[in-house]
């Protein structure tokens, strides 16, 4: 038990510390693909370091809610990192929340961020909040449907059990999982504000969503938010790995499998970041009212996955 607690702590801390690395790696891949000279792999850490040391400038109208939000959002993401199995399965914290609660954690962070964006009362803030909630209300049900499809196969909404069933089944092809996997990719792109739904590098008012929401943040608040964004991407990547390529995650009580698990995680994350960079290079950002169609497709794919499960697999 105590070993589990230590492992739990280690995994969470590792996720928190390694999250900016994944962002750095994706940025590096993208720069190479686009023919630019890549920034250092550690650039995200340097940015965070710089922001933490800077003086924070706060809008005069900002309420305590605005100041509390970066901490709330960061804590939610740390909690999410504690729930998702990354290195070892069935850690002691996992019964605290199942996948539905995980969606709830993300929603909590999002609602706080949207409210904080509306707090100062600039045109950009509310614009960002509205667009973010628009993307969210379409993405969230799609995400839930992806989870439900997988949970129908594993007969559980507990992540450890889902991972266990999917990693240790006899080799069988689940067509529903293919649909769910594509839907999950589309949703993750939207939820993490990546191309083609949003562009993390733009500050053009016509297109920005996430960046518009956090426009008023600076200094340590901005650092926390940037870090939570990186952490969110990391957790989503870990989630995709856990659900669709779970091989390598160490089962309960097998400490010997941990080094291999770490290696597998790093390899999968590196590939995931590369694929994300490739897709971001190939695609262009879409018009805002194309986003409902994009996410509607994801939603339909996930529902189709569920129906196919009933038709073919049950």
């Amino acid at each position: 038990m105590s070993g589990g607690v230590v492992l739990q702590g280690l995994q969470t801390v590792l996720a928190v510390l390694a999250a900016p690395l994944l962002t750095g790696w994706t940025n590096q891949c993208r720069a190479r693909l686009q023919g630019r000279r890549p920034p250092s792999l550690w650039q995200s850490y340097r940015v965070l370091h710089k922001l933490f040391h800077k003086e924070t400038v706060l809008a005069e109208e900002a309420s305590p809610l605005f100041q509390a939000t970066p901490y709330v959002v960061f804590s939610c993401m740390v909690l999410a990192a504690g729930i998702v199995p990354m290195l070892a399965n069935d850690l002691p914290f996992s019964p605290v929340a199942d996948v539905i609660a995980l969606v709830g954690v993300f929603a909590l962070a999002r609602v706080f961020l949207a409210l904080a964006a509306m707090d100062v009362g600039t045109a950009f803030g509310t614009l960002g909040a509205r667009r973010e909630m628009l993307v969210a209300f379409l993405a969230e049900p799609a995400l839930l449907m992806v989870f439900f499809t997988v949970s129908l196969i594993s007969h559980s909404t507990q992540l450890p059990l889902m991972v266990h069933v999917l990693a240790h089944q006899k080799f069988a092809i689940y067509p529903s999982l293919a649909f769910a996997g594509v839907a999950f990719w589309m949703v993750s792109v939207a939820e993490n504000a990546r191309i083609p739904v949003d562009n993390p590098t733009t500050h053009l008012e016509l297109t920005m969503i996430h960046e518009a929401m956090i426009l008023e943040y600076s200094g340590r608040y901005l650092a926390l938010i940037e870090w939570s964004v990186a952490l969110k991407l990391f957790v989503y990547a870990a989630l995709g790995i856990a659900l669709f390529v779970p091989w390598g995650i160490a089962p309960v009580g097998e400490e010997a499998a941990l080094p291999l698990a770490l290696l597998a995680l790093v390899a999968k994350m590196a590939i995931g970041g590369l694929v994300l960079a490739v897709l971001e290079t190939l695609n262009a950002k879409m018009r805002l009212f194309r986003v409902p169609e994009f996410l509607g497709t994801a939603f339909l794919l996930a529902v189709l996955g569920m129906l196919i499960h009933f038709l073919l697999e049950s």
């Binding site: 804590s75 909690l79 914290f93 199942d98 803030g125 008023e216």
Partner: protein, 674 residues
């Protein structure tokens, strides 16, 4: 507990009846005191105390076996049968919890009213509470209908308490009309339930109806009438049109009770008839209720998103929540018919839990809008904004309510929605195959509704409390009074507690679930972890969840503050290099709802009013009109008008024609007599 009640003779039903009498006495006392403002105001804290009493009685009703009593009031030879069982006990608890908070709030809120309106409120408010309690206690059809009508009428008088405003009178009339269409359906329902009159004189009592033998057709007919009657009260689409008119028209504490509690009386009625009086159910009832519930939920949340009046927004959100509750109810009926008692218990637990949650957070939000209305003088979002800084108490307490109703962990709304989704996920393997195919789609719709509810609540809270004031007069907005804060604090803390201790709540409501489903929901996770039926399938532990967030938050806060700089400078917001940024450049309520209007434009008829190029003060307005008016209600109105015009042809005002009518009637009658 058993023993104790046998020894002391404690009967919850008598105590509940005493509470009802206390409420009625408060109303009667208010009549002679109607010119003394100070005395009238005392009535509200007293009503709150009775609410507290009802909580206690409700809990004992849940724990002790059912108790019944015959009270000789009313017509001679027609006494009132009362009964308090676990189901009534649960709803009495719901009534008491909401009534306590709202009444405490009302003491402070109503003190600014002019004396005439205050007197009307002070008389009808306790009657309304008593009528709702009586609905829960009634054990015969006669008492039930009297209580039901009393509830409708007292709430009607509360709605029109500010009768000088024409819209309010109109809304009141619509409400009264729909309430009576529902009541007629209920009368027919009880008529069918009486069966073939085997029980003789006592056929109208519920105990006779429980043992009545009905053919499947009769049972279905009774259920359909009940669904229409209670659906009209609950605001089930398409019988919902009165709700967004009537609930906002009432004074805020009354809106709180109507949305928070009165809608649940309809749920109670349907549970009572569907699961208690009718011993056998049919699967298609469940499918019907499920489909209606889903339609209602989706329709309600979409319309909530496009409202720009704060109370109308909340009223539509009530329709959405009623839809969610009925969806769970439909699922429970399906499970119980298929003989899956454990799953029926899960669905019913979700239903009752959500009903209780909704009673609390909707009451909180409605009374909160009362404070906003009082501070700003407007219900329109276009004249609000930035109230968080002027009204921190209201702002923070409302934030809790908003997070709860948006279904976010670790508050109470999340728990019941989680249970509902779990009930859907456990579903596979039903006997009806088309249901197996339909349920994923239903699950998807529920997920969509829950996500949209978050959108609605961000809009609601963001536009009212955050940003900059859209009206310069808001600079003088003031914080709400002590009574109001206490009332809201009660409701908000109940939301938090129900969110953090779900295992305890499930144990508390399990007698009611046991009574309905014949099984209780087993919790596999102990007091800390909520795990319906099987911990390996799903679990959720809100307390560790909350503690973890809090611990990380404090840790990060400490680290950031002490490791790095804590320098902070206040400055003007960034103005995009544009010198004249005003509060008008924020999103209006219409602007925030525009994406929803755009995406779901086929659901509604949108009327827009565009500014002209020459306008000095350009004004844009858009209104989304409920299509049901055009599909259902206006055709009925047209048909009634047509019929009465046809009937009017007979009326010429000439004596010879009327004599001819009499003559023809006589001839026809003679033919029949022959």
């Amino acid at each position: 507990m058993w023993r104790m009640s046998e020894i002391t003779g404690y009967q919850p039903v008598v105590m509940a009846w005493a509470g009802v009498l206390c409420w009625l006495a408060l109303a009667l006392l208010a009549i002679p005191l109607r010119i003394h403002k100070r005395w009238l105001l005392v009535g509200f804290p007293l009503a709150a105390l009775v609410g507290l009493w009802m909580i206690a009685v409700g809990v004992t009703g849940l724990l002790l076996p059912a108790s019944a009593q015959i009270v000789p009031v009313g017509f001679p030879g027609l006494p009132v049968h009362l009964r308090l069982d676990a189901l009534s006990g649960f709803f009495l608890l719901l009534l008491g919890m909401s009534a306590f908070g709202v009444s405490v709030y009302a003491r402070g809120y109503f003190q600014h009213m002019e004396i005439g309106e205050l007197a009307r409120l002070a008389i009808w408010y306790p009657v309304f509470l008593a009528a709702m309690a009586l609905v829960l206690l009634a054990n015969d059809a006669y008492a039930f209908m009297v209580a039901w009508e009393l509830m409708a009428l007292s709430s009607y008088f509360l709605v029109v308490s500010d009768y000088r405003v024409e819209e309010i009178r109109k809304a009141g009339f619509l409400y009264l009309l729909m309430a009576h269409i529902g009541a007629v359906a209920l009368l027919l329902c009880f008529g069918v339930l009486q069966g073939n009159g085997h029980a003789g004189d006592a056929a109208f009592t519920f105990s006779a109806m429980r043992h009545g033998v009905l053919t499947p057709t009769q049972a279905s007919l009774a259920f359909l009438f009940a669904l229409i009657g209670f659906g009209a009260k609950a605001g089930l689409v398409p019988l919902h049109v009165w709700l967004p008119e009537a609930h906002p028209a009432a004074p805020s504490p009354v809106s709180a009770l109507m949305s928070g509690v009165m809608l649940k009386m309809a749920l109670y009625g349907l549970l009572r008839i569907g699961f208690d009086l009718l011993s056998v159910r049919q699967e298609w009832w469940g499918v019907l209720v499920l489909v209606l519930g889903l339609m209602t939920a989706l329709y309600g949340v979409i319309f909530a998103a496009v409202q720009s009046d704060i109370k109308r927004l909340l009223a539509w959100s009530s329709i959405e929540n009623v839809g969610l509750i009925f969806t769970g109810l439909g699922l429970a009926i399906i499970f119980s018919v298929e003989g899956k008692g454990g799953l029926a218990a899960l669905a019913l637990t979700a239903v009752l839990y959500h009903a209780l949650n909704h009673a609390l957070f909707k009451s909180l939000l409605f009374v909160g809008t009362g404070s906003v209305l009082h501070a700003s003088g407007t219900r329109l979002m276009s004249g609000l904004g930035g109230l968080m800084r002027k009204m921190p108490w209201t702002g923070w307490l409302m934030l809790l309510g908003v997070l709860a109703i948006a279904g976010l962990p670790p508050l109470n709304g999340f728990v019941s929605e989680w249970l509902l989704l779990q009930a859907f996920l456990f579903t596979p393997g039903l006997n009806l195959h088309y249901l197996n195919m339909m349920l994923p789609v239903a699950t998807a719709s529920i997920a969509l509704v829950i996500a949209l509810a978050a959108y609605v609540m961000v809009k609601f809270y963001g536009v009212i409390f955050l940003g900059q004031p859209r009206n310069p007069a808001l600079k003088h907005a003031h914080e709400t009074g002590m009574w109001q804060r206490m009332g809201m604090l009660w409701l908000a803390s109940a939301c938090v507690l129900l969110g953090l201790l779900p295992s305890a709540v499930i144990v508390l409501i399990s007698p009611a679930v046991q009574q309905l489903a014949g099984r209780v929901l087993t919790n596999d996770g102990g007091w800390l972890v909520l795990a319906p039926m099987d911990a390996a399938r799903a679990s959720y532990a809100p307390l560790p969840f909350w503690l973890a967030i809090l611990a990380v938050l404090l840790l990060v806060y400490g680290l950031v503050r002490f490791r790095y700089t804590d320098r902070l400078r206040r400055s003007a917001a960034w103005q995009c290099g544009f010198p004249a940024v005003t509060a008008r450049m924020q999103d209006s309520a219409e602007g925030f709802g525009q994406p929803i209007q755009h995406i779901f434009s086929s659901f509604m008829q949108v009327e827009r009013q565009f500014p002209q190029p020459q306008d000095r003060t350009p004004h844009y307005a858009s209104a989304s009109i409920d299509q049901w008016w055009h599909f259902l209600y206006l055709p009925i109105v047209a048909a009634v008008n047509w019929l009465s015009r046809q009937a009017a042809r007979l009326q010429h005002g000439r004596i010879q024609w009327y004599l001819t009518y009499s003559f023809i009637t006589l001839l026809v009658l003679l033919v029949f007599v022959q």
